[in-house]
Point group: none
Chain length 540, copies 2
């Protein structure tokens, strides 16, 4: 049985209620385009009645050619004792120029009497009148029953009357919201089943993740007969977020046999998740189901050898189906078959002799014993493999650096770094300030090298982590620095280890630049740059 | 109906399979103590047969007095054609000295024939023989059926035979594992129900989160009759992690009426989650259900005013039940009673005026907004409270420090710190080398102050952690430094925040010494030390 489940994305509206999430109009347009490509059916763009930024989005999006998605505006029912046709909020929906509108209304009796401070009858009038008005204006109309599950538990008869008022007024969809996110799958299943006995209009589900079971709530609702899911990309949203569509879609499509998007579109899932995270400037957890960086990463030795023989042994789906990939973690727990698999994955073609491979594994183990951790720093691993097989050009090397920090009771701390770096036959000697010692060093290195390798200017650091390895040594202990860098949307991580946090940072920073130069295919420094230009830049 | 559900924590074993997770023996002991306090029934400490670190944990933990939890060792059944009593792996379990052991075995026919490369009959022998052997040695024995749900779907008759072999051999618990994390709640419910028709032994569930529904899978299993849950704190673990016990416990206890821990223990939930994250040096997502920093944070204007009138309007449970808090404008009364409770806990006796208390709460909030985190640094909180009420003597103050680091290609990096510190009316000016900038600064400070406050020589630093607060800024971002110090067996933690790791470290180091001096009751510097002795020491 294949049945269509419609996807309604509210990343651009409910998603932006999440703490720390803020999207410009330009960001929203970019995300809408990607959602359209992915096959989302409804894209909720904002609440035109609530702020000018949302109104600007609806103006801009009209000129953007979308292939499939229906842009939808969000709003509420009319206010008590105001006719729908006279309500500013509803008029703003019409003026936004959309073809579909979603309005929420109360379905929990307590909220009607205590929050809206009106009668249960007046609320039914508001729901019916608002839906009728939008329909009369030719809009596809979705009615969102706020707090429906809590309302149904408190007063199921009234909650049903609210839905019936929307249905009788001609709503195209009725959507049941678990606004507080407190419901559990079995309740959702039973209530959706009960509702469907008394309604003809297609039903949607809009859950929040406060109990950590929002994805399961969607599956329960769909198994009970709901045919629309409202959620956000990566589950962003107020408090614990809305349901994560990134987890919902592969579960529905690959496991339960429902149809949401095409197989080709499903292969964009991982990229979509990371793209939205990038634009919203949020860090994705590595262990995010389906699309996380670790979602198909295997560490334990038994797991690794089994997965290499037959992926089904330790993978619930094929990562390629959703555009993710298998990763074998090279670590103390694993051996030679890992190395071969790893090199293929990293795109390094080294035909190693058995003895060479053994030698490399020995080096990896020694370095891991010293505290290096390559599973979180695959760019450093790549460099090590290339170096071990003599395939890495030495494009720059350190002569020396100095860092001076000064702090007095009355002044903020200052950090200055000077570096001397060999490039070709020259020695570049320059200096830079920074927010701290590592930042100063990073600034000085870039300043020295950008002249020779302009691609460095496109790269930036996206994460910096320090981990103390041996606690008993405390500030004299060994530390591991992990640095994540990005360039043109691609990310890589490097590692450095030392008892000195600055030396460890230097290693990781240098690896980060060396990896970029290898990726970009830089074979030698640009000696063509006029000395004067160089001097000019270095002294800026 | 209240029914006990047993909690089995595998943070220290399966959790450490997670990418980037690495725990020292000391870390594991600390976490075990907290798990015990929280009321966890079984604490799986490691796999004694697999590596020396795990064996060291079992040796150490024997000397630690636990109130409630049973320390459990993990392993596998004996190998094909080897008697259980002769198997090294099983012998290592016995030698670890635990009273409970959990062994996994195959229950998916494909894994028996293709991975173990033995017969289905021999696998049944291995399961039965291994369980019998552990029971004969007096151990509480848990049998973990690996890949049970996939195995049951492929060949339910054989999967059941495996369980029956374990039951007949006397297993105390049988635990069904969703090893690949691909199962959905309805399948879990149906299969657990079916299994329970044919077994008498109590049943546990061990799910992974690859489909994003592990918490719901636990609820389904428990609703079908399982009475033990195996998971990890914060859901750490291989790939997408194990099920998150932090979400499981409040759902079972507050929503479904099962009993796991006491109400008082449940109030430690948020702290437990954050404590383990700190030790594992992992960043918790703000939107983590129940315990996240945003889990009860209200952003939308409508929500905030409604929540202030009646929390039930937009909160599914009361945050206090799990030790989290609402983040709206907290009423000053609630804030003050918290403060009073906290001061009692810290052993500070300050009879504060209403206005003073308000002022202190304001300061704490401002500093938390800047990135200070007092939950992990109660010594700094104590100092702040003492200072705010004028009860802290100023025993030393910074005039200035300088740090110089030099590194050349041919030499190891050197770090030198000079400090000028005011003590009484004098200015001490001295210098020291160190393994790194923070260590050099630490050494210089001690050298300057030990002459006046000899107790400083007894104190040493036991942990030093750096956390980047705003990941997007990378090396220019704000960092939080947490320092743990110890003296005569007592430990305390302090915090510093700055965009400069050295400045943040200075703050935490200075707090660490100030706290010691307060604890030791130092009222003033020892001016009795002869000037000459001082000079001698300062120049050593």
């Amino acid at each position: 049985m294949e049945r269509k489940v419609y996807l309604y994305d509210t990343t651009l509206r409910d998603g932006t209620q999440g703490e720390g999430i803020s999207l410009s109009v330009e960001d929203k347009i970019k995300i809408a385009l990607r959602l359209d490509q992915f096959g989302i059916d409804f894209i909720e763009g904002g609440w035109p009645g609530s702020n000018p930024k949302d109104m600007a989005f609806f103006e801009r999006i009209r000129e953007v050619p979308l292939k499939h998605a229906k842009i939808t505006a969000f709003g509420s029912t009319c206010r008590p004792h105001v006719a729908a046709a006279e309500d500013d909020n509803l008029r703003a929906l019409i003026e936004s120029g959309v073809k579909a509108a979603a309005i929420f209304g109360k379905s929990w009796d307590m909220h009607v009497t205590d929050a809206l401070k009106t009668t249960l009858e007046e609320n039914l009038r508001m729901v019916g009148d608002s839906v009728s008005f939008l329909k009369s204006q030719g809009l596809t109309t979705l009615f969102l029953a706020e707090h429906f599950f809590d309302g149904y538990k408190a007063n199921s008869a009234y909650a049903m009357q609210v839905l019936q008022a929307a249905e009788q007024a001609g709503a195209d969809w009725i959507v049941l919201c678990d606004t507080n996110g407190g419901s559990l799958p079995t309740e959702i299943y039973d209530i959706v089943k009960a509702v469907l006995k008394n309604l003809q209009v297609p039903l949607g589900i809009h859950p929040h993740n406060d109990s950590g079971v929002a994805v399961a709530n969607v599956l329960a609702a769909v198994q009970a007969g709901a045919t629309q899911v409202q959620g956000t990309i990566n589950g962003i949203g107020e408090r614990c977020g809305n349901v994560n569509l990134i987890s919902v879609v592969p579960n529905l499509q690959l496991k339960l046999g429902y149809s949401c998007v095409s197989s080709e579109q499903l292969q964009q899932l991982t990229q979509l998740s990371r793209y939205v995270a990038e634009i919203a400037n949020m860090t994705l957890p590595n262990n995010q189901p389906f699309v996380g960086n670790s979602a198909f990463a295997h560490k334990g030795g038994i797991h690794v050898s089994a997965v290499l023989r037959d992926p089904k042994t330790y993978e619930h789906i094929e990562p390629e189906e959703i555009g993710n990939k298998r990763r074998v973690l090279v670590s103390e727990l694993a051996g030679q078959s890992n190395l071969q698999a790893k090199m293929e994955e990293l795109g390094i073609d080294l035909s190693l002799e058995r003895a060479e491979a053994r030698e490399i594994i020995k080096t990896i183990k020694e370095r891991e014993f010293q505290g290096y951790q390559y599973e979180g720093a695959e760019a450093s691993l790549t460099l090590m493999l290339l170096e071990a097989s003599g395939k890495l050009k030495n494009l720059f090397s350190l002569d020396s650096f100095k860092i001076l920090m000064e702090k007095s009771a009355s002044h903020a701390i200052t950090s200055e770094a000077t570096v001397k770096i060999h490039v070709n036959t020259e020695v570049v000697h320059t200096a830079a300030d920074g927010n701290g010692p590592v930042n100063a060093l990073d600034n000085a290195m870039r300043k020295a090298l950008e002249v020779y390798y302009p691609c460095i200017s496109k790269m930036h650091l996206t994460d910096y982590k320090v981990r103390v390895l041996d606690e008993n040594g405390a500030t004299a202990a060994k530390v591991r620095v992990l640095i994540e860098s990005a360039c043109d949307g691609e990310k890589w991580s490097t590692v450095g280890v030392s008892t000195n946090v600055i030396e460890a940072s230097w290693e990781a920073l240098a690896d980060s630049i060396r990896y970029l130069l290898w990726k970009e295919g830089c074979e030698e420094a640009k000696n063509l740059v006029a000395s004067e230009a160089r001097v000019g830049i270095l002294n800026h």
